[in-house]
Symmetry: C2
Subunit: 353 residues, 2 copies
């Protein structure tokens, strides 16, 4: 079976979530000891968890994991980031050493951290926590041609899916996609632009905090990339991903599809994460039912993607560090939603003498 | 010593937080492996924790507790709520039994639940988790006269402070004030109006979800209460609290002052919680430095109070159930802020070969 066929097979394994279980959750919640709807977004999350599990009450997520996929980007050559590419490898090593933001936040919410090198330019040092699935040492410059081949995109996607499947097989019951890749806000902007038909100015942002001049340059680069690949049909998600994408976007799309295929909720993080979700849902529309938006990235492209996905994030904390940080911080809210739906007394019980 | 003198003594024990430690936290954070400021609100929380602890990095909160204070309100006789007063006692019993929203959320974030009856109209059943400090069986109707005496307000405040002090003495290192009291959004609106000089329409909301007619009635009641007690000077916080307040507001102001006196961060919940904070800060301005806003209640009075306190909440999830739920959901963010500041590598380390 070709790599592309394996991607299609994975997508075909995703079954639609169960609207009847969501409705049962809403009814159960309305009968609990509180004014109807007074748990706000928490009740909506509970209904979504029920739909994902196909049962009400759904199980309480107890073993979350973040998959941080790292890769580099040929578009970096266009001067879109103030950071050198070597930072990607250095950060991947820090994730392994447990010394980055994602590690502190994962420890706080009881999540394990899995690190995936799917195409870092300079090879990170070996580490027990590091999964190597190096498809290539970074993508090509998408402003000059396709970022990678379809087969490479498929291979990176399947690497993410394989790691997610192993995690779920070992007991993980909630996945957070995380990313690391210098210049990947540029790549994300290109993908969001292409998948939503939005112009460069609507999807390009300041990333890690660039100034006006660099933002203008970055927007022009995104516009040129979108223009160059306009011939790739929107109905060919793998083609768009290969033309414009990052290897980490492909890997995270695989994490999302695998989680959905295994019936596990996926809590999205920031721009790269919601971009990967756009790719995953384009490949497999039912996968959208397994998504919970954790955090609203300040990047404009993230909101464009979230709107297209029909998702409203739980958090808006101004995080722009990626790594899965914002998704992880939403995990306790997701767990609390499930536990409240399972454990709270009903109004009937309260009325009983 | 009189009860009022004991309140003044408690307020005098609060020392201002340390701006130098906050500045050290900002410098430390800016030197960590991420773009400066890219952890957004999380960095601001870390700086506040450092200011509270007077050290950088501050300790990581590891033993949070919510204090849910329950009481009833004479203003209920004005028909401002669709719920009978008996619900207050029933909910207090549910908090003890571990079957309410606050219990599920507290369990998720690892917080203990302390329940304080400071003036529930119908006495809740005994329970090991229930602390009885019944100042009176609900307040009088503040639209007809003072809700309680100054001594009663002081007694309720000291009951909350005493419970908080015991909790901190037993190892609790973060406090969340929570509330239960049918009609207490009306009482909160009165207090916020009086403490901020805002008109009834700006501070009165739908509480648990009342319709337009009941909202109009409730707003008129709040306006009448504010008018009746206009002679109480704003510089007399205990007098305003006694004239307009709820016993649970008094108790939670005590929790806040005691937490501040003990150098412990206080993570605020919704309307009753931020109203109690207004009272606490009026009694003792330095207590404001110990506050972190957990959740933005949809009640308009909550935003008026938060603006006066200069606080921006971490969450906005549409919760309107009280009990401390929104404060508790913010606790993992607070803990993560401290852990990230303590544990993340520095850019210097990254640059080292």
């Amino acid at each position: 079976m070709s790599l592309e066929q394996r991607v299609a097979q994975l997508a075909a394994e995703v079954t639609p979530v169960d609207p009847a279980a969501a409705e049962a959750a809403r009814r159960r919640s309305d009968g609990q000891v509180k004014p109807p709807g007074s748990l706000g977004e928490v009740e909506r999350v509970a209904a979504r968890l029920a739909a994902i599990a196909g049962s009400c009450p759904p199980p309480v997520p107890a073993a979350p994991a973040v998959v941080v996929a790292g890769a580099d980007h040929g578009i970096h050559a266009q001067g879109v980031s103030p950071w050198p590419q070597s930072v990607t490898a250095a950060m991947v090593e820090l994730f392994c050493a447990g010394r980055a933001a994602v590690n502190a936040i994962a420890a706080t919410v009881g999540a394990q951290v899995a690190v995936l090198d799917v195409g870092v330019a300079s090879e990170p040092a070996d580490h027990p926590r590091l999964r190597r699935a190096r498809v290539r040492a970074g993508t090509d410059d998408s402003s000059a041609g396709p970022a990678m081949t379809r087969e490479e995109a498929a291979r990176a996607l399947l690497a993410g899916a394989g790691l997610a499947e192993e995690l779920v097989g070992s007991g993980v019951d909630l996945l957070v996609p995380g990313d690391m890749g210098i210049a990947n806000t540029t790549t994300s902007a290109c993908l969001v632009g292409a998948f939503t038909g939005s112009p460069a100015a609507a999807v390009t942002g300041r990333g890690t905090g660039i100034d006006d001049d660099l933002l203008a340059r970055k927007t022009a680069v995104v516009a040129a990339v979108l223009d160059r690949h306009r011939a790739v049909p929107g109905g060919d998600p793998l083609g768009l991903l290969a033309a414009l994408g990052g290897l980490e976007h492909a890997a995270l799309a695989g994490v999302i599809l695998s989680g959905a295929a295994d019936g596990v909720p996926v809590v999205l993080d920031g721009l790269a994460s919601v971009t990967a979700a756009l790719v995953a849902v384009a490949l497999c529309p039912p996968a959208g039912g397994y998504l919970i938006a954790g955090h609203r990235s300040p990047e404009p492209g993230a909101t464009v993607a979230l709107d297209r996905l029909g998702l409203v994030p739980l958090l808006d904390l101004g995080l722009r560090v990626g790594e899965g940080t914002g998704g992880l911080l939403a995990v306790p809210i997701v767990a609390a939603a499930a536990l409240a739906l399972a454990d709270m007394a009903t109004l009937d019980e309260l009325a009983r003498p």
